[in-house]
């Protein structure tokens, strides 16, 4: 069973299914997760296998989805609550930031909150402004919640398993554009393939420039790296995988080698992933810096419906390659 390629959607489905088989306390809840088989087909077949007790369709009640998961987790269950898309998790931001992320702290360790929020994220396909967010950094702003954002099938599989088994709340985002993307799965599937929370990964080695990215940004960074290699520039691609905690040691060690950095993200540029990484680099790696740090992100604008201007607003591999050429 080694090396088979499966779509990221299927990798996530398997991780969730295996964890539900493994631990009776794990259950899923969310809009259309049961009878409709999941808006993104991640919970396909779950109702048949696990029944209504463990696969719970909710009304369109995000505030309650966010908060019910907290209560159930405090009381001893391990909820995996799905937001159909991350846009709707804004309605639950209070439950996520103030309760999932803080009850342990404000009761000084009396409770734990072992839950996972899953949310499909990302821009594109003319989904229009209110359905076109990639706001992982907003959720990563708050201490108390971990944030995981996989870029491929294998990572998604291992990261989700870890998230479900961890005793802290995790917001787990799934790039809509990556759902159909095939990728290899671990050889030891069905056992304990776990990716530690906060552990990043080098997706490509190179010595000329460090590209720091997560989720879909990793795709753009890898594409740009291939293009740059043809022009004699070797880019190293660091996939942080988790926005909280951040594996900055991995970024620093790469930067010490390359002395140049471009940060790539799907989200908006202000108060962003890019801002955070750039700030930390200049603070801790000043002596190694040979060029300004560049950021490639979406344009600072709500996303329009019309397709050509939508593409103007979005980052892509070419924009990454162009940014690299400005500093090498």
């Amino acid at each position: 069973m080694a090396g088979r390629n499966v779509a990221m959607r299927e990798a996530i489905r398997r991780a969730l299914q295996e964890e539900m088989r493994r631990d009776e306390n794990v259950f899923v809840m969310g809009e259309e997760v049961a009878y409709w088989q999941g808006t993104h087909r991640v919970t396909r077949g779950f109702l048949e296998e696990f029944g209504e007790r463990r696969v719970r369709d909710t009304p369109i009640s995000e505030m309650a989805i966010g908060g019910v998961a907290v209560g159930a987790a405090m009381a001893g269950l391990r909820p995996v609550a799905e937001f159909m898309t991350i846009n709707f998790a804004f309605l639950a931001l209070d439950a996520i930031a103030n309760h999932a992320g803080k009850v342990r702290y404000f009761f000084d360790g009396m409770f734990k909150v072992p839950l996972v929020y899953r949310a499909a994220s990302g821009w594109g396909n003319q989904a229009t402004a209110s359905h076109s967010h990639s706001p992982e950094p907003i959720f990563a702003h708050f201490p108390g919640v971990y944030v995981g954002c996989p870029s491929n099938s294998m990572d998604a599989y291992g990261m989700l398993k870890t998230s479900i088994r961890d005793d802290n709340p995790v917001l787990f985002t799934e790039s809509i554009a990556l759902y159909p993307k095939p990728g290899p799965m671990p050889d030891d599937e069905d056992t304990d393939y776990l990716i530690p929370i906060g552990k990043g990964d080098i997706k490509r080695e190179g010595s000329d420039v460090t590209l720091v990215a997560y989720a879909r940004g990793v795709d753009w960074a890898l594409q740009a790296a291939r293009q740059l290699a043809r022009e004699g520039v070797e880019a190293e691609v660091v996939d942080l995988r988790w926005l909280r905690p951040l594996d900055m040691d991995l970024v620093y060690s790469s930067f010490k080698k390359t002395n140049r950095c471009v940060i790539v993200e799907e989200s908006l540029p202000m108060y962003s992933f890019g801002s955070e990484i750039a700030a930390l680099l200049q603070e801790h790696m000043f002596d190694y810096m040979d060029a300004p740090i560049k950021r490639v992100a979406a344009e600072d604008v709500p996303l329009p419906y019309s397709k050509e201007i939508e593409l103007l607003a979005l980052p892509d591999a070419q924009k990454v390659a162009d940014a690299v050429k400005e500093i090498v």
């Binding site: 809009e31 259309e32 009878y35 409709w36 808006t39 369709d57 009304p59 369109i60 009640s61 995000e62 505030m63 309650a64 846009n87 709707f88 309605l91 396909n125 003319q126 989904a127 229009t128 402004a129 209110s130 359905h131 540029p269 202000m270 992100a297 344009e299 600072d300 604008v301 709500p302 329009p304 419906y305 019309s306 397709k307 050509e308 201007i309 103007l312 607003a313 940014a323």
Partner: protein, 343 residues
């Protein structure tokens, strides 16, 4: 009971066949990829709900709805060409191509728009009605809301506030049986949805068979009158969506029970047929008018498609950034300056 004139009835028929033709054309264009995108929610099957209720309004009243907004836009008299151009993201679209199917609006028609976050438009509706109450006007805000949205916090907070402040809102709950794939009784503890509003002290006008435009109109006139004089009112419209939740919903292709249910609604409660029969029963010598409306609908929608397809797409950074703020005279690409067009 208010009895609509012959001219009114014929005009409803005109609107109804226009909406149906428009929606079915949108569906076909989407299948042919001449309309792109991921979200488009059609009003086919819902026509009588919008037509009968909006017939009770006067031009100074307000209308707001969710993403299932094409029919509402057409009833209010928005230009089908501009609406179709919006589907295609064209510059000539009613929202300049920025909004698409889910975000039609027309300031000129007091149509405050279609909104894509479930329940998100409900507090806006209360705010629009607050403006009227604040200035002492008796204009009402007719607000369409889906059955699924009644389970969202926005609904409860907005209705309660409309009640304590006596806001002139007519809450029309369009109960089409489903929120996406979830039947009403699996999502709502109270399945008579108008009673949820009643719980906040809002005057309920009960449940209406919303495939019958006449019945819808009769109740809407009372509800509108009540809202003008006193405060919020609610009506529950029982209806059905012919094209599923949205254009990507393929349930009706794969589920026999769903397609049987759909057939039953189309065969026994078809709003166009119901209205047609009512007109023909009451008035003679109108067959030619009905036929002319049917022909006109085809011609108008065909013209709308031609107009939309001949129009240009927005392509520039200027167009991308325009209207992020009121004073966006400048366009800044983020690699030059972070922060969109603030002067």
């Amino acid at each position: 009971m208010a009895s609509p004139s012959k001219d009114m009835l014929l005009d409803w028929y005109r609107q109804m066949v226009l909406i149906r033709e428009f929606e079915e054309t949108c569906h076909r264009l989407y299948e042919e990829k001449r309309i792109t995108g991921v979200y488009m929610h059609l009003y086919s099957g819902h026509e009588a709900s919008g037509i009968g209720s909006m017939a009770a309004l006067r031009p100074s009243d307000h209308v707001i709805t969710a993403y299932r907004d094409h029919g509402i836009a057409l009833i209010l008299g928005m230009d089908p060409g501009a609406v179709m151009a919006e589907m295609m993201g064209k510059k000539t679209g009613s929202s300049g191509g920025k909004g698409g199917s889910m975000h039609l609006a027309s300031a000129e028609h007091n149509f405050w728009g279609g909104y894509a976050i479930v329940g998100g438009h409900l507090p806006l509706a209360a705010g629009i009605a607050l403006e009227a109450r604040y200035r002492g006007s008796d204009d009402v805000t007719m607000t369409y809301v889906g059955d699924g949205a009644t389970n969202n916090g926005y609904f409860h907070e907005s209705l309660n506030m409309s009640s304590i402040w006596d806001l002139p809102v007519v809450w029309i709950i369009e109960n089409n049986g489903y929120g996406m794939g979830t039947e009403v009784n699996r999502a709502s503890g109270q399945i008579e949805l108008h009673r949820k509003a009643e719980a906040y002290g809002i005057k309920s006008f009960g449940r209406v068979n919303a495939q019958d435009a006449l019945e819808v109109y009769a109740v809407a006139t009372q509800a509108v009158d009540y809202a003008r004089k006193h405060g919020p009112a609610v009506v529950e419209h029982v209806t059905y969506r012919y094209r599923g939740h949205g254009v990507s919903d393929k349930q009706y292709d794969s589920r026999e029970d769903m397609s049987a249910e759909l057939r039953e609604w189309m065969d026994c409660r078809e709003p166009i047929k119901i209205l047609r029969d009512q007109i023909l029963k009451k008035h003679t010598g109108v067959k030619a008018v009905l036929a002319a409306h049917e022909e006109d609908a085809k011609r108008i929608v065909k013209g709308a498609v031609e107009f939309a397809e001949a129009s240009e797409l927005p392509t520039t950074y200027q167009e991308l950034f325009q209207n992020t703020y009121v004073h966006s005279k400048m366009v800044h690409k983020t690699d030059m300056s972070v922060g969109a067009g603030i002067d």
